[in-house]
Amino acid sequence: MALPLALDIALRHLLHRRRQTLVSLLGVTLGVAFFIAISAMLQGFQRDFISRIIDIQPHIIVMDEVREPPRQPVERAFPDAAILLHGLKPREETRGLRGARNMLATLEEASGLHVAPALSGNVLIHFGGKDISVNITGITPDQERKVTHIEKDLLSGTLDALYTTSNAIILGEGVAKKAGIRKDDLITVVSPAGVMMKMKVVALFSSGITVLDNFDTYVLLKKAQVLQNRPNVINRLKIRLDDVEQAAPLAARIERQFGYRAEPWQEQSRNVLGIYVIQNAIMYPTVSAILIVACFGIFNVISTVVFEKTRDIGIMKSMGFRDSDVRLVFVMEGLIVGIVGTLIGWLIGWLLIEFMASLKFEMEGFVKAQGFVLYRTPRHYLISGGMAVLSATLAAWLPARRASRLNPVDIVRGAG
């Protein structure tokens, strides 16, 4: 079975300069392999983080804040006027969601979601001569368990212990570790309002999300209201949806209806998600740079081949090869390097992923993990292969076009 003529010639050209061909092949291979491995790693972490966030955190948090300051009476009276106001004083508000009970009732009627009220604030925990500042959240366990992951994240103890033990508190694992606290220890909690309370640690939790584990604590809603000296106040409504995709639109609707700021999960995690955007913005150019270098390699080889093969091009044309036939030979050379490089790159990329998957180590970044979280998808193979083959073909195109335009008379005359 004979190869098509153009392919045959292209292959022989490449095989006759093995070292150069290998170098440009290596470029493509590395570009493709790194793209696959790095994409699997980055997207693995990102998707893992997002799925954990969606699993653990409420999908929407309604807060006792408004997005824009309330409009002044004069602004409301003249909506189109340019108004400059001096000497505005903010009102000292007793913070909290006003009409929270109503909102709760309204939201509870809606289907496809669960709501839980909370009062969060800061307190100092005092234990064994150490003071640490933590977030404290007053919750109602019966509602909370339907909205967040807290119950499943408990390492010891139960969520209901908040009901059955008086002055009970649940600590994040990181909080406990920092102060050397263990379950059943008695700790002192002091609030900014000046209330001090002895509380018993009834449970520890570990969510895997580092910031939560290091700073969050939970008590009964009533206890939190007493601690913060804000009886009956609720400053958070946490919502969990059956369909996460509805988080952003529903949050917007809640804001419009009640006037309070409602953050969907994407907004709550915007810092981390923003870092991922930066990660991607760094990774894709880096991998592309490898491919670009590979392209220079291909461009270089094929330019050299065209230069060295000038005489052969002349004879091919005098034999009756059309310009397009000559071009095809050299474009084919780029294509071969691109395709073979891609295939080897796929294999090496796959091996790299399996190697990374076999590594086990403890790490703590935004989330806790044992080893790399890898995301495997045929998409990464298709994207890297597509980019490699396309850029290899483009890199070959210029020298190929030059070859096809060579005038056979000049060549034959020069060599004769």
Partner: protein, 228 residues
């Protein structure tokens, strides 16, 4: 010459000028007719335009005035692709330098024009190439690379390749320039045979007056014109 069979090759008022600040005229006003089975030698001093004329006759170069007719087909308005196709199917070129593709064996080199034309299948192409090498007494060298052959052998492989698609017209530019006189005479015998027993038109450019005398007809170029 009967009207039914047009000449294998005809040049009418063929002129080729190179443009430029000082235009160079390579050939001017060449009229020429070559019949099937005719063996013609082109002679002339160095720089007289022999190669230039051959490139025009072989449709490798285009005239600035006049035209070339191949078996009666006027090529004046033909596209570059059409000219390439004509070269492939109807013309065999042999140059002073052998111009074999170095990565291909002798057999594979001879096969290239056959594969390009695509009229014969893989096995038939191989058999034809093999037969041609056999006829030129190169049968035992078919699997060798060009660099493993002597100059005369290479030139014969190049002739086999020029014959690959059974072209009615063979054009050779100093095919014996690099060969010793005995080998050169052998190569000339081959060309004469191609014309006289195979009925092809053969045009050979040569410096060698003795060899030129063995041709049916001599065309002497001086300064881009036919003399005498």
């Amino acid at each position: 010459m009967s009207e039914a069979s047009p000449p294998a090759l005809e040049a009418r008022a063929l002129t080729r000028e190179l443009p430029g600040p000082v235009p160079v005229t390579l050939v001017r006003g060449i009229d020429l007719t070559i019949a099937p089975g005719e063996f013609v030698a082109i002679t002339g001093p160095s720089g007289s335009g022999k190669s230039s004329l051959l490139y025009l006759l072989g449709l490798l170069d285009r005239p600035t005035a006049g035209t070339v007719l191949l078996s009666g087909e006027d090529t004046i308005g033909s596209s570059p692709d059409r000219l390439a196709d004509l070269r492939l199917a109807r013309i065999g070129f042999v140059f002073q330098f052998h111009f074999l593709l170095p990565e291909f064996s002798c057999l594979a080199n001879v096969e290239i024009p056959i594969r390009k034309l695509g009229r014969l299948g893989g096995t038939a192409a191989r058999r034809r190439a093999s037969d041609l090498l056999e006829q030129l007494e190169l049968g035992e060298h078919r699997q060798k690379l060009p660099e493993q052959l002597s100059g005369g052998q290479r030139q014969r492989v190049a002739i086999a390749r020029a014959l690959a698609n059974d072209p009615p017209l063979i054009l050779a530019d100093e095919p014996t320039g690099n060969l010793d006189s005995r080998t050169a005479a052998l190569v000339f015998d081959i060309f004469r045979d191609l014309a006289h027993t195979q009925g092809r038109s053969v045009v050979v450019v040569t410096h060698d007056a003795a060899l030129a005398r063995t041709a049916d007809r001599r065309i002497h170029l001086v300064d881009g014109r036919i003399e005498g």
